[in-house]
């Protein structure tokens, strides 16, 4: 497994996911900020793309419901846990 590539792809996911978290919390208290909603949607779109690319190569980040399908054998238990990386 290409560990360096995995780490780098994971980092890119964490980065854009964090942008989404920050804008999510901001929008909870500023629900009418159209610019923030636009940026939030933009971040979510990038996040989806990056997650798909990661999951295709390194197995599921989420067990179901977000586009990932398992190959055989059951992939969820195969990929490393967050504290093991």
């Amino acid at each position: 497994m290409n560990c360096e590539k995995q780490m780098s792809m994971l980092r890119k996911i964490q980065e854009i996911q964090f942008v989404a978290v920050e804008l999510n919390l901001y929008l909870d208290t500023h629900p009418c900020d159209a610019d923030a909603i636009n940026d939030f949607n933009c971040a979510v779109q990038i996040l989806e793309k990056r997650k798909k690319a990661y999951q295709d190569e390194f197995g599921p980040l989420l067990n179901f419901g977000f586009g990932g399908y398992s190959k055989e054998p059951w992939q969820w238990v195969e990929s490393p846990w967050p504290w093991e990386i």
Binding site: Q14, N24, L62, N63, W81, P82, W83
Partner: protein, 197 residues
């Protein structure tokens, strides 16, 4: 329901294991101002909030705190990785080894187990949001103390991330409080009557 995602919110790295620091930082796992208490406090207070905005914020920050608890758990795991019973003893954490081996447990830096007494829920939005703001401040200061107690730059980076999150959450709870006070004022739920000047 909650969906688990197999990644940390922010990477957790340590330069080398350090059982002594694990013993201290575990307070952010199960201490009075730790991440377990934070997540449970916010998720539990949601039900008595009068506005959807407040419920959403408590849900989202409570959820983020669960991710922070996982980061602290990963940190304690890495700080104690490969440590022997003697290492635990030398770090003054022999008692933890005896009772939990390499397992984690929710205690503060003095070994006091987590307690629901760390959490308040009065069912009053102003009291509860003010409690949340105080909780963020106490967690911020605890992170400052912890950052002083380690020399590991990787650990400092990660703790500084969590420290900054407390500042952001304080801001959001404050905005939420502004909003709630305005909302309740309009409804005259608490101020009785307003005196026009």
């Amino acid at each position: 329901m909650w969906i688990y995602e197999k990644s940390l919110q922010h990477p957790v790295k340590v330069t080398c294991p350090d059982v002594s620091f694990a013993k201290l930082v575990v307070t952010q796992y199960g201490g009075p101002d730790g991440e377990l208490g934070a997540s449970l406090r916010y998720l539990n207070q949601r039900y008595s909030m009068p506005t959807n905005k407040a419920i959403a914020l408590l849900t989202d920050i409570g959820t983020e705190e669960l991710a922070h608890m996982e980061m602290i758990a990963a940190l304690v795991y890495k700080l104690t990785e490969g440590a022997s019973p003697k290492d635990y003893e030398a770090a003054g954490w022999g008692g933890h080894y005896v009772q939990h081996n390499h397992g984690l447990f929710w205690t503060d830096a003095n070994g006091v187990p987590w307690s629901a007494q760390y959490i308040a829920c009065l069912g009053d939005p102003i009291a509860d949001l003010t409690e949340d703001m105080a909780a963020e401040q106490k967690a911020r200061v605890t992170y400052e103390h912890l950052i002083e107690m380690t020399n590991d730059p990787c650990v400092k980076d990660m703790l500084r991330f969590l420290w900054q999150r407390e500042v952001v959450h304080f801001q959001r709870f404050g905005e939420c409080l502004n909003d709630i006070q305005e909302h309740m004022g309009k409804k005259n739920m608490w101020c009785g009557c307003t005196v026009e000047k």
